[in-house]
Amino acid sequence: MTDTTKTPPELEQLLADLKPDNADLLAVLHRIQDAYGYVPPQAIPLLAEKLHTTPAMIYGAISFYSEIRREPPARTTISWCSGPACRLKGSENMRRALEAVLGIGLEESTDDKAVGLHLVQCDGTCALAPLVRLDGHPKGPLTVSEAIRLARELKGKEGQP
């Protein structure tokens, strides 16, 4: 999914039809992220030029949104739902257990970039609370022990070269 070797000319193609004052930025950020897995820093000056603004303004916008990544994601992302229905059903316990097993906090990845932990907001699949999304696929309701087994399995699988 993530290819950091792509060069700006290909990036430029993704930005070809970008116009200022046309509500284009979010759409193009999604497009770049779909292609690269994140928004590479080389994109910032190009976006600024196309949208007739400064790189600082573009960086400001990018860093504002929690779903736009400025670094490549881990190979597997566990998205932990922070919503109230999950909270009521023990999601905090689950978060502490996931962090302990993986040795990382939210918005971090293991050193080998195998597994990442990401905080997501409620998307209303509350019948499954408490849940996590594994690369976007909901898994729930999960007990804390099930979450621990899941994290151990992901960590163990990736540990093998």
Partner: protein, 624 residues
Amino acid sequence: MMTYRELRQQAEQTWQAVESPPRPRIAVGVTTCSRAVGADETLEAIRQEVSRRGLDADVAVTGCWGLCYAEPMVEIAKPDGSRILYQQVTAERVPQLIEEALASPDGVCQELALGAVSPQPVDGVRPLSSLDFMAVQEERRLMNNCGVIEPESIDHYIARGGYEGLSKALNMPQEDVLWEVSDAGAGLWGRGGAAFPTARKWEFLRDAKSEPKYMIGNADEGDPGSFVNRTLMESDPHGIIEGMIIGAYATGASYGYIYIREEYPLCVERMELALRQARERGLLGESILGSGFSYDMEIVRGAGSYVCGEETGLISSVEDARGMPKIRPPFPAQSGVFAKPTNVNNVETYANVPLILRHGAEWYSSVGTDDNTGTKMFSLSGHIQRVGVLEVPFGTPVRRLVYGAAGGPPEGRSLKAIQPGGPLGGILHADNVDLALEPEPFREKGALLGSGGLVIIDDSACIVDMCRYFEWFAEDESCGRCSTCRGGTQRMVEILRRIANGDGRPSDIDLLRLLADAMRYANCAHGQAAPTAVMNSIEAFLDEYQEHIEGKRCPAKVCHGLIRYEITGKSYGLPEAAAICPTAAIVQQDDDYAIDQALCIKCGACRELAPAAVHVVDAFATSD
């Protein structure tokens, strides 16, 4: 270009095949909720099973009835007119369903049957309308198509009266359209939370001098626990689009945006398709239905920011900037998107508009209360037996939703609190369960009815912990522009954290009150409403705060700074509990197990596996 009458005739032919199917029709509800429990796999399994058996049957994709607890749901309609909904049809259950329901003409899979789409029982299956979750919904208006039509078919929408309201509106003077929606007519007000009269907002836009004018649909539904907009967009996307076109006609807007949050990819997909279909039929674009009125719109997909649901934050976000709320005035009607006149309404507000135009203001205001006409959608989640989305007239008591529809808290638990309107909407004591669902009674209690999320909380929850969550959310999602909100939410989180950790001070209650008072001066609704839950709860649940502060005890044993896990007694589950512990805190000595408190992170995994031996106790318990 076709006239509306021609469009309708064409659509009715398509719909005929659904109403009176020439062969069995198997429809799978595919939405975010049902996908989460495997609806895609169910759909695929049905296709395979139908082809494997060589059945002469149609397979279709429908939307959601709002019964999240029963997903994945499958409807089987037969040429004899029977229509039965089946619940929890996972892919593994598909062969059984098909075998029992379709092997004979009058077959029914009793084990999975949920309800019959008819007023009377069919083949021993009770009518859907008799289910507790459906029975409280006297009249489904906004949700009339939800679960019934194929959301990816514009013909289904049109055949059931869709775009008739638009066709009528285009033949009326703008003034009359505004009247229909206004307080003198239907009395529609905004469903996003502020409850501002819709027609008055539209008049501001109409009267604005500058061009072009923009119409924006707010589908940034960021309140955790709210999923009513999602249900509408996924199950009946055209209702929103039609409402926005009518609004544009009444105000002279020429372009529009629907702002959909990042978390709703299926909504984006279905709304995009719906816009394309509307454009193909001449319902969007140049001279809509030959009227000479032109309007078009597009979707903007958010990227994970709660304050973008605030209208000026949303406008900033559409303008390619950080989604930070702006200072008003100027109001969006004067200077909104790209400094042009702009109107922002919640998408549920727009979905009401076609119904008003089609059936008239009198019909619209025939349900609800004197002050609040019509119906409202609510999403129910938390400590209840049935999670889902429903629609009730304003004025319906909360009790009917909590106990009637949702089945109340789980067995052995009792209702403790109700959390309306998202994290900023407040928290109400269970004593308020008879409150009428309309803005005024909630406002009197210092809470907000908000956009339709209702989170039900039972006595297993800690109010301090929940408030800590709400404040954390407000802090995390603060845009940071005004220090009142940025600093205020931070301080609140700090104070609640220390209370939850056993370091609370007796002066903290007054400190929280002082902060909440100051935060009323925040720049936008986010900061102003951020302390709502804390303020509600230090009145209604003061004893619980005091127990945390003075007694250093969390009565619900949730706040992990105030509890300790201990092993007393024996259990065959203990070896497994020791193995699951993520910090290896359970140490074995001969046959005995103990928890090393220095290592324990209080995640509770061990207790799940050895409930008889692992106990949660007060960390600062006194022995007397």
